[in-house]
Amino acid sequence: MATPVIMPRQGQSVEACIISKWHKKKGDSVKVGDILFTYETDKSTFDEEAQVEGTLLEIFFEEDDEVPVLTTVCVIGNEGESVDEFRPDGQKAAAEAASEQPEASAEATTAPAQDVVNAAPTAESAVNAEGRVKISPRARNLAEKTGVDYLRVQPTGPNGRIIERDIVEAREKGLLVTPSARDEYMKSGVGAVSGTGLGGRITTGDLAAAGTAGTAETAQAAPATVSAAAPQEDYVDVKLTNIRKVIAKSMHQSLSTTAQLTLNTSFDATEILAFRNKVKNSMATLGLENITLNDIILYAVSRTILAHKDLNAHFLDDKMRIFNNVHLGIAVDTERGLMVPTLFNANKKSLNEISKEAKALINACQQGTISPDLLKGASFTVTNLGSLGIESFTPVLNPPQTGILGVDTIIQRVRVVNGEYQYYPAMGLSLTFDHRAIDGAPAAKFLKDLRDNLENFSVLLAK
């Protein structure tokens, strides 16, 4: 039987060797110990000796060919024997081996590149933060805890950094700001507001006053400068924070990659308002008094949506991923921007559990302590602008989710009951869905079921 001669593996790192010289030709007879060919690795040159006697029946590679190790190089046997079974798939094998190599290395080089792309914004945002105000983590924590207005603090640390002792001193001087005014104040970056609150704290009132005053000042200054030259620096370039960039990107992506549209409806909120009142006045020992209207809606969604599988799903181009449980994304407005934590398996949780967990998630987002793991994995999202008086809006999908429910404010509506006009509290619902995944009628059916469940909330609870 014919015997194949393979390219030996000379060392672990060697993937392929180059045949530098053939000492035998096809058809030559060879004896044991005859040198068949010489081949090279990047380190050395080797001679391959014949291990068997016979005729060199076939040579699969020429001089200067790069041969993957363990590939058959030639075949020795008796004349007339077939060599086909040993054929290493010709140049194809070699070509594949060659093309695999760069591909693998290309992957290897892209991976770090991606990392760099991901890492860059983080670094940049750190620079932003520094550009605004240099403050040590410890000083910032102390300022937040004690209500010190660090924008008014004179830094004494190295390189103009605000350090702990500056905050301590500022507190003693009374450079304070109230918790409710803090967010807006810090964002405004004004820094020169005089506080009228308790102990000289800056209040929201002061902020409003400062705003008006500022406007008035520019208004007065305007005529004077118009005649002179174009006003300079009448705007401020605020670099985007990292989270703003992320939001911008994902919002744009959502709109440019999906076919989304919004359905609006409203329902009679009488029952849920009554229910909410009841729990609010319930005994503290029950621990239910903090259940909000939003919690009630989350609960209703979690119990309704499983019957509308296409909305509790991800649209993944060639397939739909239908979820067996309901993982509700809850849109939360934070000082850093929009965050959407996930309340997992909402369908398995009681109203009270949903309420408590939602509060914990919202709190964690606002504190900035939310685990990144909890910022993904939602199967459907609920966003609520009702508290801000919005009557109807078009929520933007969070792909690959197929739906997002907007919760609107409650307004008094009129309806005719037994020929009489009757007022009732109507709460708006705005459902955006991806038309690629689901058609209008089924989406509308979901809204209808949700309305029914909310209008008969006690029945839903009993289910």
Binding site: R9, S44, T156, P158
Partner: protein, 820 residues
């Protein structure tokens, strides 16, 4: 130094000459007929069988390495394989007479030695003994895998040996050491097979330490260090040979312990150190055996023997073993042999000719020995063919099992993520390594130093004034108390180093120890740092406890391999089978310039597997030495020559007289404070205290000063707690600032306490220069004002402070640009 030995100028200056005896070269010339008196037919044939097993084992590995296949078994083995094909007769001949009490240590090319020694042990052990060994090893885990249809316990044991070795080579969890050693570090202690070593010549010093263990603890058996001809180019090998033959064994050690160490330094001389040809190219010896003549008057009983004839090797071992048993060691053997395989399968043998290889193959011991046995009518040719066929079947069976993932899985680091982590340290507390009387010369309470210390004042300050140096209990007293205590508890404990005995150590830590201890427990070592550390490694892995000493920390460079590759690694590489109770004392110098003043804790801390401590108060020195000596892990015990005479200034009540331990890994708050934390390693503690005083008096700041005491392991909790309180931390030590372990600590603290920090942790280290003369040291080592300047510049500007040192950002950039 030894007062007993008179250096007589008359003798020394007398004229004369040194004479040598002849060194035998391949003198064995017996025929098989003559050897029939010593060997039965079974013996002759078993020798052949053992050689055949090794040959097939190595051929199998060669085939797997180069073709990914052996006899139908497919496998890819990315690990190393330095094969000994061609050297079988040497290995089998050497092992033939050895018992399990005789230890062999090997090299990167030792598969053959392992198998030969194992097969020899199996032949000698009873069935019960074999079963006991197999059942108890890893609770019979390997036995369960190989147990099958074997006809006898010996057959089962051979399967066990082959499988355990191969699974180890293939990095399987079912290998003799869980696959953590691998091809170049395989061994199996119950058969007297001690670690092989991937560092050329690495085994010489370790094996010498094992021989020291045998002598000191009156253990039976001899030790063989199997290394290659190339290794004679390594300094540590020379050191080991000299130390095994030190004159004091004959002149100074007590009668019972007289004579050099029971060790054969056996060189498997295959003529190539990788590709370098030793004789004629890289070495000066011409014939390796010549080396013995230069070492000692015994000429190490050196001899060249024919490693291609198993009977010649057996003959030599029989004669040399007797010499060792008569306490006339050590012995040097030049066992000539030749490897057919390359250094490794990727070797194209470009350094030798085909003619040369062919010529040696004609002398192939498997062919030559077989031919001789047939000619002498010991057996017929078929008998050999049968052995070869059986061997191939056996190796195929073992190979198939070893590559099978279901039978031979690897360590599952997903399921058991700490599988390797928990082997890095043994973390045991063993009061004494053996339970018997301690060899001492006088009762402890009669020791003059013990009596002197009794009169000392065990606190550093009395009535607000420092106690005088003459009366105060010093740091060196703390070390002494801990060490002498262990000498009276653990009979295996030995201590040695340069100038230890009589002198009492260069810094008087051991003063008084000579009076209590016989030579065999406490002696002066040659100026051979590599051999000092390596012997301690060998001593400890045989079951003893040792305190080797390097006079200056700077000399760690001389023992780099021994500290970083041997001492640190054997516990984990043995999968916990070996313990390493070694306390390596090193002293950080002062006043002695660039090569005698360096704090190298950072270098040691970088190496996994070492515990590193640096106490700088008498209380900590005694407590940490007690902990180190009670444990089973290698501890690099840093001391400082700046503070050997310091009294205890921190611990309330001073240094207790009784036994206590300071846990390794726990930092200590030396002074409480609330405004800033200063963490120190080493004697910079005292500069930090100075700085703390200045901060308090001049700037109204209260500094918390923490002494790390231990570098590895290290509990950060106390430091983080402090940083949470103060928000600021300076780290300072005498180590050069670049690459200092303090940088590592600063980075860890940044991660763990980021939100609490008022400034980045700041490291103050020595300059990245040579250590200048003592008179200029204040410009090199961190001083109190450096610490204050660093605080002012980088953490919290101090009102009215004028800096003397430059800690600005620009200066950091500038220095780094220049690499200084």
């Amino acid at each position: 130094m030894a007062k007993q030995l008179f250096v007589d100028p008359k003798e020394i200056r007398k004229s004369g000459k040194i004479t040598f005896q002849d060194i035998p070269v391949n003198q064995y010339n017996k025929t098989i007929e003559e050897e029939k008196a010593n060997f039965s037919t079974d013996d002759f044939m078993r020798i052949f069988r053992d050689m055949a097993i090794i040959r097939e084992f190595e051929s199998m590995l060669y085939s797997i390495k180069t073709t990914n296949e052996y006899n139908g078994v497919q496998y890819f083995n990315p690990g190393p394989a330095h094969l000994s094909t061609g050297q079988e007769a040497s290995a089998v001949g050497q092992a033939y007479l050895l018992g399990t009490e005789d230890f062999i240590f090997g090299s990167h090319r030792s598969h053959g030695e392992i198998l030969a020694k194992g097969l020899s042990a199996i032949q000698k052990l009873s069935d019960d003994e074999l079963m006991d060994i197999m059942k108890s090893y890893f609770d019979g885990e390997i036995l369960k895998i190989v147990e099958g249809k074997q006809n006898s316990v010996k057959e089962l044991a051979i399967d066990f040996l082959l499988y355990g070795t191969l699974a180890e080579i293939f990095a399987r969890k079912t290998g003799f050491h869980r696959g953590l050693g691998g091809s170049m570090h395989a061994f199996f202690i119950p058969f007297g097979i001690y670690p092989n070593n991937a560092i050329v010549g690495g085994s010489a010093g370790i094996a010498m330490g094992a021989a020291l263990f045998k002598k000191v603890n009156r253990k039976k058996g001899i030790v063989i260090s199997n290394i290659g001809d190339g290794s004679l180019g390594c300094g540590p090998v020379w050191e080991a040979i000299n130390m095994a033959a030190m004159g004091q064994f004959d002149t100074l050690w007590e009668d019972e312990f007289k004579g050099g160490l029971p060790i054969i330094f056996n060189f498997f001389n295959n003529h190539y150190g990788m590709g370098g040809q030793t004789s004629g190219e890289t070495m000066a010896f011409d014939m390796l055996a010549r080396f013995g003549a230069g070492v000692s008057p015994t000429q190490l009983h050196a001899e060249r023997i024919d490693g291609y004839n198993p009977l010649a090797v057996i003959d030599a071992i029989r004669r040399k073993k007797k010499i060792l048993e008569e306490n006339k060691g050590p012995v040097l053997l030049d066992t000539v042999t030749y490897r057919f395989a390359g250094h490794s399968p990727s070797d194209s043998s470009s350094y030798r000719t085909k003619e040369e290889m062919d010529a040696w193959m004609e002398h192939d011991s498997l062919i030559e020995y077989r031919k001789k046995l047939i000619e002498a009518n010991v057996a017929k040719d078929e008998a050999f063919e049968e052995i070869l066929a059986n061997t191939k079947e056996l190796i195929t069976k073992i190979c198939r099992m070893a590559v099978d993932e279901t039978i031979s899985p690897r360590m599952d680091l997903v399921k058991v993520p700490d599988a390797i982590e928990k082997l890095m340290f043994s973390n045991q507390k063993i009061e004494k390594m053996e339970d018997r009387e301690c060899d001492v010369l006088i009762p402890k309470e009669e020791n003059p130093r013990v009596q002197q210390i009794k009169k000392k004042i065990r606190v550093g300050m009395q009535d607000g004034k420092p106690v005088s140096k003459a009366r105060v209990y010093q740091l060196r007293d703390g070390l002494f108390e801990a060490i002498i205590d262990k000498f009276y508890t653990d009979p295996t404990l030995i201590a040695y180093g340069e100038d230890n005995r009589d002198w009492g150590g260069a810094f008087a830590v051991y003063r008084g120890l000579t009076e209590s201890l016989p030579y065999h427990r406490f002696f002066n070592a040659p100026i051979s740092e590599a051999a000092i550390v390596a012997s301690a490694v060998g001593y400890a892995l045989c079951g003893g406890r040792a305190i080797p000493e390097l006079m200056y920390c700077d000399f760690i460079g001389r023992a780099g391999d021994e500290v970083f590759n041997q001492l640190a690694k054997w516990q984990a590489m043995s999968a916990g089978v070996l313990k390493m109770p070694v306390v390596l004392r090193v002293s950080v110098g002062s006043k002695y310039g660039a090569q005698h003043s360096q704090d190298w804790t950072s270098i040691c801390a970088h190496i996994p597997g070492l515990k590193v401590v640096f106490p700088v108060t008498p209380y900590d020195a005694k407590g940490l030495m007690n902990s180190a000596l009670a444990g089973t892990d290698p501890v690099i015990f840093f001391e400082s020559q700046r503070v050997y005479d310091i009294g205890e200034l921190f611990h309330e009540g001073g240094v207790p007289e009784g036994y206590y331990e300071v846990p390794i890994g726990e930092p200590d708050i030396k002074r409480e404070g609330k405004d800033i934390t200063i963490l120190t390693i080493g004697t910079t503690l005292y500069k930090a205290i100075e700085a703390a005083d200045i901060l308090e008096k001049q700037y109204g700041l209260s500094a918390e000063v923490i002494d790390a005491r231990t570098i590895t392991p290290f509990n950060y909790e106390k430091v983080i707690e402090s940083v949470k309180k103060t928000g600021k931390i300076v780290l300072a030590s005498d180590a050069c600032e670049r690459g200092s372990h303090l940088k590592d600590m600063a980075q860890t603290i940044s991660e763990l306490a980021f939100d609490y920090l008022d400034a980045p942790p700041v490291v103050v280290g020595s300059r990245n220069w040579i250590t200048p003369a003592h008179e200029l040291e204040e410009f090199f080592f961190p001083q109190a004002d450096w610490i204050i300047d660093a605080i002012h510049e980088k953490i919290m500007p101090l009102k009215g402070h004028t800096v003397k040192n430059n800690f600005t950002d620009n200066e950091i950039i500038r220095r780094n640009k220049l690499g200084v």
